[in-house]
């Protein structure tokens, strides 16, 4: 990777991190768990990496197997994460 490209990635990293900091400021305590769960689902974005890794042709390489392993788990994380967050949030609706 050339430095210019790396630097761009770092820009993105830095700005996104700042943004992450700023977004969460005053969260009411009841939302702590859903927020945690919801952002956990987002961290399942690693699924994109897993997809790319699984893209490896043939079943001979360790890489492919690792990719598939990652894909299954990442999918669990993503699907389960979003679903469970939604369930939680549904409960919060005011009586």
């Amino acid at each position: 990777m050339d430095t210019a490209a790396l630097l761009m990635l770092i820009y993105v990293l830095v700005l996104a991190s700042f943004l992450g900091f700023e977004l969460i400021s005053k969260v009411p305590p009841t939302l702590h768990t859903p927020l945690m769960s919801g952002s956990n689902a987002i961290s399942g974005i690693t699924i994109v990496g897993a997809l790319i890794a699984t893209n490896e042709m043939g079943f001979t390489t360790l890489s492919k197997w690792l990719g598939m392993f990652a894909l299954v788990l990442a999918t669990i994380n993503v699907v389960g994460g979003y679903a469970v967050t939604d369930r939680m949030l549904k409960m919060f609706k005011k009586k």
Binding site: L6, L9, V12, L13, A16, S17, L19, G20, F21, L23, I24, S25, K26, P28, P29, T30, L31, T33, P34, L35, M36, S37, G38, S39, N40, A41, I42, S43, G44, I45, T46, I47, V48, G49, L51, I52, T54, N55, E56, M57, L62, L66, G67, M68, A70, L71, V72, L73, A74, T75, I76, N77, V78, G81, Y82, V84, D86, L89, F92, K94
Partner: protein, 462 residues
């Protein structure tokens, strides 16, 4: 990568940002979750577009399996088990990042046989470390929470030393991994160390602190995804990963604050258990604390509130701020009354004098006999500096010095919040087991000061 995919990634990044933003707002949270799910879908679909059509079978198989499992557990799980579920999912995310990093490592070293450049190598190592720690850490948290292992902090001498040694070892092996990329042994050792560290970090922390730990590990799994982004040179991974990484840290901090703990304190472990500041004598009462913010949320969501004032209200001179609390509640159409115990305070009519001073109209003050049956239909009872007058021992424990004294049935309410400074005793000098009841939350601090804060929070919510 075609630019359409890149644009899609940009869109999903934006959706993640908005998703997290909304998740922090009570009324938008569900929409936030939905938006971020859409973002995820877009990212996945966009990625699929770039992929080789031939691998679709495996990919769909994996997605199907993973999706089914995820959905099944998400639907099946009991609401009370959600924290453990989050821990579990989080662990999977971590191990997935680790696996992707490994996959890339082996792809480059074994299949393509190219040299891995520094940036990539560092990213892989970071991903392995963070992903590994996230995984085993989450697993331990999960087991602690669902009781598969004891929630007690597990400590042994030399724990900190061991951690330090492992860290040094990791750094050493990491350098080796970089220098001798062909040798799979080094990266394997890295994986093992990372997994070990995850376990060691979490076992000394008590079960009560697990939510904080999970939140922290969640932040880690974001960072792992971010590292993976650097490996794959992928923006959406970086954005989503760093968003989660950063917001996770802040959330962890907020949670710590809400629990009146410092993050350091939690991480160093061993101070684990929420204080069971029990007495020397008698059985240990294990209590739950509540923060002012959560207390404010509880008021906000109640539809009926009964305040039980006691001598502590008089000492704190909290009557005026309680009137404010009343105004806040009445603005929300919450039914708000006072239950006056005949001997609350230290002189007959003590509460009456003070509440009259605070201009609380007489018809809000209900006598014990008239209100005692209403507690069981009440969402929230707020006990302010009262103790003996709500002590269930008066009903149940013939040995107690207050046995036979009629008391207010505060314990019968759905939720009870008790405002007092400490676990200090009342006039009768006895323990109050109400404080350990499952529906009871302790709001520690001088009544006037804490209630002022609660009112402040409520004003903000409005």
């Amino acid at each position: 990568m075609s630019s359409i995919v890149q644009v899609a990634y940009l869109v999903s990044s934006i959706l993640f940002v908005m998703g997290i933003k909304f998740l922090g707002k009570t009324k938008d949270a569900r929409r936030g979750n939905f938006l971020s799910a859409i973002g995820m879908l877009i990212a996945v679909v966009a990625t699929l577009v770039t992929l080789d059509i031939l691998t679709f079978v495996e990919i769909f198989a994996c997605i199907l399996v993973g999706g089914a499992i995820g959905l099944y557990y998400a639907k099946k799980v009991e609401m009370t088990q959600i924290p453990e579920m989050v821990a579990l999912f989080n662990g999977f995310g971590g191990i997935a990042s680790l696996a992707v990093a490994l996959s890339d490592h082996f792809l480059k070293t074994e299949v393509l046989q190219v040299e891995i450049d520094t940036v990539n190598s560092v990213s892989i190592i970071a991903s392995v470390l963070i992903g590994g720690v996230t995984f085993t850490g989450s697993m331990v948290a999960w087991m602690k929470l669902n009781g598969k292992i004891s929630g007690q902090p597990i400590m042994f001498t030399g724990q900190h030393l061991l951690n330090l040694l492992l860290l040094v070892a990791f750094l050493g092996v990491a350098v080796m991994t970089y220098l001798f990329q062909i040798e799979p042994i080094y990266i394997t050792i890295l994986v093992v160390i990372a997994l070990l560290v995850g376990v060691l970090i979490v076992i000394p922390i008590g079960g009560a602190d697990m939510p904080v730990v999970i939140s922290l590990l969640n932040s880690y799994s974001g960072m792992a995804a971010c590292a993976t982004g650097f490996i794959l040179n992928n923006n959406v991974l970086i954005v989503a990963g760093s968003l989660v990484g950063a917001s996770g840290i802040i959330l962890t901090q907020i949670m710590c604050k809400a629990m009146n703990r410092s993050l350091m304190n939690v991480l160093l472990g061993g101070f684990g258990q929420t204080v069971a500041a029990g007495p020397q004598d008698g059985p240990q009462i294990v209590i739950k604390e509540v923060g002012v913010e959560e207390a404010a949320m509880l008021f906000d969501s109640a539809s009926s509130v009964i305040v039980v004032p006691g001598y502590g209200m008089a000492v704190a001179q909290a009557q005026h701020v309680i009137r404010e609390l009343m105004e806040q509640c009445e603005k929300r159409n919450i039914d708000f009354r006072f239950a006056i115990h005949p001997v609350a305070g230290r002189m007959p009519g003590h509460m009456n004098v003070l509440l009259a001073e605070a201009n609380i109209s007489y018809d809000k003050l209900i006598e014990m006999e008239a209100i005692n049956d209403d507690f069981s239909n009440t969402d929230l009872v707020f006990v302010v500096g009262a103790n003996d007058v709500v002590n269930p021992a008066a009903r149940t424990n013939p040995q107690s010095p207050i046995y036979g004294m009629p008391i207010l049935n505060a314990d019968k309410a759905r939720t009870v919040i008790v405002s007092k400074r400490s676990m200090g005793k009342g006039y009768a000098g006895i323990e109050n087991e109400l404080f350990g009841y499952p529906n009871c939350l302790m709001l520690f601090g001088d009544a006037k000061q804490t209630i002022t804060k609660v009112v402040g929070e409520m004003k903000e919510m409005a």
